[in-house]
């Protein structure tokens, strides 16, 4: 058992780090949940693609590098360490692409994947419906057979960034007479500007308009846009839901980087929350998140080896009072949680490299990272005191409002990609062997 990287992996890390250092915008892009930010993030996807970094784990023929899961984890660590922009292509890359690799045709892969990798086409998911959330198999949107394809009608909702995206994928009921709800479903792809598609933006909790509901009225979808066999959509979709819950949606690099920034913030405050008497505003120091370019809090490959360099001003290690010990414990828990998640995924990557596969275990990840994400951001807001509530639109917001923004985003974590209640059911039934019961 070891945690060592090969020389080739170290070189891969250096290459990624250098490339990112030269290109990551020094000021964060506008929120990718706005029209302006969406366009800026799409452009960034193009930059990533040109450098060969947009989809490192894909085969080279589709724009990737054929990287191993471990190399992908290394890239993600460097990506978030560098404070690089959020991935607007996330839904396509982490949900649709794995489905196409597993169930798509060669023609579909050749047609869909390159433009996804370059950011030219951005995909939205169309799973949930007003009456089908956790109980996804009860969905009602229909696909009716017609010459050369299907005619699709119904309503989809909670479709992230569908307000700005180009195409969508989801499940539709193609056989209303099937004996069980999860039979008779078909997995389809369709353009969001097709005839019969109406996209209505929904303001999210953070006020951003990128959520949407989709009204589909007799939309034609050609046979070439069916993934897998008609009627097999549930089975096809489940391969992607494990991806969404598992490590591909929320890589540990994201949390190790955030925990590193949190530690910097904590040190910069001298171990207690900012208050009216502290005499300085957190954003005025080097502690403030994205612009600090700080390390992850533990150097790659050597665990907790060294603290990051920025934010270690002279107030570090001052004597925290009793209230501060509570904050310190929460900072420590965030650091430990991020490290645990990193190590857990290293074990998963090792397991996959040894020929194993990951099934219901992905539900462990989903609950863990989503709760870690909230706790980490809550701690940051508490450290920031009166500055914690300032959004990315506030000129004086520390770290351009990234903590407040990240906090609001984190609140969605326990809900999307299968609520944590559903995940705990899966853990209890499939990993612990408890009997099924009423939900």
């Amino acid at each position: 058992m070891d945690l060592d990287f090969t020389a080739a992996e170290d070189a891969f890390r250096s290459e990624a780090r250098d490339w990112l250092a030269a290109r990551v915008p020094s000021v964060p892009l506008p929120s990718l949940e706005t029209a302006e930010g969406f366009a800026a993030h799409r452009e960034w996807e193009g930059v990533l693609f040109a450098g060969g970094w947009s989809v490192v784990s894909w085969p080279e023929q589709f724009g990737g590098r054929g990287s191993s899961p471990l190399e992908w984890l290394i890239f993600e660590e460097e990506y978030y360490r560098a404070g690089a922009p959020g991935r607007v292509s996330q839904n396509g890359i982490s949900l649709l692409a794995p489905t196409l690799f597993e169930h798509g045709s060669d023609e579909q892969r050749a047609r869909v994947l390159p433009s996804m990798a370059s950011g030219e086409v951005i995909w939205a998911q169309a799973w949930s419906e007003p009456e089908a959330g956790s109980d996804l198999a009860s969905l009602r949107s229909v696909a009716v057979r017609t010459e050369g394809g299907w005619r699709v009608s119904g309503q989809k909702t909670w479709s992230s960034r569908a307000a700005f995206a180009d195409r969508a994928f989801g499940l539709f009921r193609s056989d209303p007479d099937a004996d069980r709800p999860h039979r008779g479903l078909t997995y389809l792809m369709f353009p969001l500007d097709a005839d019969g598609v109406t996209v209505r933006p929904i303001g999210r909790l953070d006020g951003k308009p990128a959520f949407a509901e989709l009204f589909l009225d007799d939309v034609f979808v050609p046979d070439e846009d069916v993934i897998g066999e008609p009627g097999q959509g549930w089975r096809v979709a489940m391969s992607t839901s494990a991806n969404e819950r598992g490590l591909t949606l929320r890589s540990p690099g994201r949390f190790t980087a955030a925990a590193g920034r949190l530690t910097d913030l904590w040190r910069s405050t001298g171990g207690s929350a900012y208050g009216p008497d502290s005499g300085s505003r957190p954003g005025s120091e080097s502690c403030s998140g994205f612009e600090s370019g700080s390390g992850s809090g533990f150097e790659s490959g050597s665990g907790f080896a060294s603290r990051s360099r920025s934010g270690s001003d002279s107030r570090s290690g001052s004597n925290p009072g009793p209230n501060d010990a509570a904050l310190r414990d929460r900072v420590a828990d965030a650091v430990i949680g991020a490290r645990a998640y990193q190590l857990f995924t290293y074990a998963h990557a090792s397991h996959i490299a040894a020929g194993g596969s990951i099934g219901a275990e992905s539900s462990l990840n989903k609950v863990f990272w989503s709760e870690l994400d909230i706790a980490l951001h809550e701690t940051a807001l508490d450290l920031l005191g009166p500055y914690g509530e300032l959004s990315d639109e506030a000129g004086e917001a520390p770290a351009h409002g990234s903590w407040a923004d990240g906090y609001t985003f984190s609140l969605a974590g326990p809900i999307y990609a299968g609520t944590n209640e559903i995940q705990r059911d899966i853990i209890a039934e499939r990993l612990l062997g408890l009997p099924k019961g009423r939900r």
């Binding site: 070891d2 907790f304 430990i336 857990f344 990557a349 609950v367 209640e421 059911d425 209890a428 612990l432």
Partner: protein, 329 residues
């Protein structure tokens, strides 16, 4: 990177598991708790024969160590079966004397490795325990006080613990075995070994509590169905598994860091200790709650694990001390 236990390490765990399962450890624990150390010493000898105690002792003193990862694997099984005795203390004493060398190492280490001697250890530093665990059962009680290591020649009255299988007492008097600047460094290393194996032991305790509780809620029926079909029950057990599963890799990483003498080992050990012990303690709370009233009885063997979780949480590094250490420079 291959962050997975080897086949040999898994086989070692399986062997210990099988041996301890057939040994009927609950009876051994109950004897130990009543002050009868006979069955416990017999089990100790079998563990020594399986190689457990030699893992902490260097080869030049008839051991095979130090092998922190194998120690962690072994202690996971010791916790799973609630084995009583100064287990972490004996491993840590081996680490201490192994680092110090000299006459004390020459005299005691072969006996620790072979299981002939049971050791206890007390490191007197701020926030540490003034007690030596199971001092009445130990053949040697080592005391670290500043830059001095003593071999105690007596102990104060036994101070029964809330876990009756743990029997602490103050070490008294004794002769100086070692003195000098090497002592604090060796003691710090020994305390890290103790914290690591306590974390591993706690994880084993947590896993046993989870396994037993899962078994129980599958067969216990109320309202005409197995209580394990209720979401409120399932979700507590799911959370228990999550906490244990995410603490496990921290324990392995801490063992690797100690093996490599990594300067960050202290932080890795602290992270493992607090996570594993919090997970085990939460498992104990869940096990008790989901067993209901029968869980609150001494006669149910479950009590042997439930009462172990809390003291392990404090032993060799309180949660607060561990969290502070994770953030230390």
């Amino acid at each position: 990177m291959r962050f997975l236990l080897s086949d040999e390490q898994r086989e070692f765990a399986r062997t210990l598991d099988g041996m301890l399962r057939s040994a009927g450890t609950p009876g051994v624990v109950r004897s130990w708790a009543s002050g009868d150390h006979g069955p416990g010493r017999a089990l100790w000898a079998r563990l020594a024969e399986a190689g457990v105690f030699a893992l902490a002792v260097p080869e030049e003193h008839e051991g095979v160590g130090p092998l922190p990862l194998e120690l962690a694997v072994a202690f996971g099984e010791l916790g799973r079966h609630a084995v009583p005795g100064p287990l972490a203390e004996t491993a840590a004493a081996g680490a201490l004397l192994g680092r110090l060398g000299g006459d004390a190492a020459h005299v005691w280490l072969p006996q620790l490795a072979s299981g002939k001697a049971v050791a206890s250890l007390c490191v007197l530093w701020p926030g540490g325990s003034p007690y030596a665990l199971d001092a009445d059962a130990a053949d040697a009680v080592f005391v670290v006080d500043g830059d001095t290591v003593r071999l105690a020649d007596a102990h104060g009255p036994m101070q029964p613990s809330a876990d009756p299988a743990r029997r602490p007492a103050r070490p008294l008097g004794g002769v100086v075995l070692a003195q000098g600047p090497a002592v604090p460094a060796a003691a710090a290393y020994a305390a890290d070994v103790a914290a690591l194996v306590t974390a591993a032991q706690a994880l084993g305790v947590g896993r046993a509590l989870l396994e037993r509780t899962v078994q129980y809620v599958r067969q216990r029926t109320q309202f005409g169905v197995a209580v394990g079909s209720f979401q409120a029950v399932k979700h507590r057990l799911a959370d228990t598994l999550i906490a244990l599963e995410f603490a496990q890799p921290l324990v392995h990483a801490a063992a690797l860091a100690l093996t490599a003498d990594d300067p960050a080992a202290g932080r890795e050990v602290a992270a493992a200790k607090v996570s594993a012990c919090e997970a085990a303690y939460a498992a104990a709370r869940t096990a008790l709650q989901l067993h209901g009233a029968v869980g609150y009885t001494e006669e149910l063997d479950l009590s042997l694990w439930i009462r172990k979780a809390r003291p392990l949480r404090t032993a060799w590094g309180t949660p607060a001390a561990c969290r502070a250490r994770v953030l230390a420079d």
